[in-house]
């Protein structure tokens, strides 16, 4: 593992390539994460984590680009994680969110990493949480995460971000309808993007009505902000709202609560994955198949089988 130690050391001292490699290692193999995370964990917890979600093509990447400029003007260091879907048919992906962020490509204080979901549901990739930690340990002041184009169930961003921005766009029919309850509930800030096209006011009204129906966030009124992903106008207001929300989180103590919930999610996730991996180490794919056949032909029921398996599983739980 000494090459890992070397990489971690380089990363912490600011080597961008080492950071890139560490992210790949954690993305490809969870035992790498189990080695790396314990060695960087105490360097994390400093960055403000901002999530951006919304329907495909609503302008998430364009808004990220504008926000990065705002942060850079204030001299803050930025990490971006841009997630695109993996094709369920081929397992491949085209990661193109970056295209909208060209102006930051050569800024040494902006690190952009594209990730594919690799079959993960929920709008993030499995390694997103650990990638956030790597960027945090690297010294980023803010980490912006762009989820895959989301509909209603891709709400995992709320588990990793301090501040969630939900992007919607004015459109012909019921624009907000397409966002549905799930995703509306996770928004701390609402951006109505493409505010240059018709129907903005109607869209804002719809969001406002939707918010009135849903549960209130204690002490925080979700602002609705017009943005233009294709010009600089509006980005500043969004930027101010993000800072305002961060301030609210810190002052209200919600920050602390969120962190505890996040810690719990992490624990449960790691344990789950550990269990599944050990399960397949203990019981081979073939044996699993044999057992499944018994269930299928009604020779045994699943609970009966589990009863028999438990002694073998005990050694790792």
């Amino acid at each position: 593992m000494s090459s890992f130690d070397e990489l971690i050391k380089s990363m912490i001292s600011g080597d961008r390539r080492a950071l890139g490699k560490i992210i790949t290692l954690m993305e490809n193999d969870s035992s790498s994460s189990a080695y790396i995370i314990p060695r960087i964990h105490n360097l994390t917890g400093n960055a403000h984590i901002v999530g951006i979600t919304g329907p495909p093509g609503s302008g998430k990447s364009s808004i990220v680009d504008k926000l990065v400029s705002c942060y850079r003007k204030d001299g803050l260091k930025v990490g971006v994680i841009a997630i695109d879907p993996t094709s369920p048919f081929t397992g491949g992906a085209i990661l193109g969110d970056r295209i909208r962020m060209k102006q930051h490509y050569t800024d040494r204080d902006v690190f952009i990493r594209s990730m594919a979901t690799r079959g993960n549901l929920g709008g993030l990739s499995e390694a997103t949480g650990n990638t956030i930690k790597a960027l945090d340990a690297f010294g980023k002041d803010v980490i912006i995460i762009e989820t895959v184009g989301a509909g209603q169930v891709e709400v995992d961003i709320v588990k990793v971000a301090d501040t969630v921005i939900v992007v919607s766009v004015p459109s012909m029919g019921d624009s907000v309808q397409t966002l549905k309850a799930g995703i509306m509930e996770i928004g701390d800030i609402f951006a109505v993007n493409k505010a240059d096209i018709e129907g903005v006011e109607k869209c804002i009204l719809e969001i406002r009505m939707m918010l009135e129906l849903s549960e209130k966030k204690e002490g925080w009124i979700q602002p609705i902000i017009k943005t233009y992903g294709n010009k600089d106008e509006g980005a500043n207001k969004l930027y101010e709202a993000i800072k305002e929300h961060n301030k609210y989180l810190i002052e209200s103590g919600h920050n602390e609560k969120k962190r505890i919930i996040r810690g719990k999610t992490e624990l449960v996730n790691i344990l789950q994955n550990l269990f599944i991996r050990n399960l397949y180490k203990t019981i081979s794919e073939e044996e699993m198949e044999e057992l499944a056949k018994k269930i299928a032909n009604r020779e045994k029921d699943p609970y009966m089988i589990i009863e028999e398996l438990i002694p073998r599983l005990k050694k790792f739980v």
Partner: protein, 133 residues
């Protein structure tokens, strides 16, 4: 579940606006199960190298139809060296005359695929190359 995937950077350097080939190749690699980072048009060698580091790609592919290939490949390779990243293999395609091939090979370009190449050839070349290393 975590698994190893090939990550390929497909970039268009310089002022060349011919992006059909790059897009065709990007799609073919995706369909072969790879993760393709596509940066869009008009990239500088600096931005290509910086992207390769951040995205930790296994290979860099340049698509050049402008005639500036000798300069652009050389520049990217020099910058990779400067960053200590010359181990990232670089290849490409586009309109590149036969006469320039020896020079490109000499500076370290692994392979050039010209017009009419079948994308299957490109996919199998990548698989072969990455298996070796």
């Amino acid at each position: 579940m975590p698994e190893k995937k090939l990550r390929i950077l497909i970039a268009k350097p310089g002022l060349d606006g011919h992006d059909r080939g790059a897009k065709v190749v990007a799609r073919a690699l995706r369909d072969a199960g790879m993760e393709v980072i596509y940066t869009g048009l008009r990239q500088t060698p600096e931005s290509i190298v910086e992207t390769a580091l951040q995205e930790d790609v296994d290979i860099i592919g340049l698509s050049i139809l402008s005639g500036a290939h000798n300069y652009l490949f050389k520049k990217v390779i020099d910058l990779l060296k400067k960053e200590g990243a010359e181990d990232i293999p670089i290849f490409g395609g586009g309109i590149i005359p036969e006469d320039d091939m020896p020079y490109l090979k000499e500076i370290g370009v692994k392979r050039i695929f010209g017009p009419g190449t079948s994308t299957e050839d490109i996919v199998s070349y990548i698989k072969e190359m990455t298996n070796k290393s």
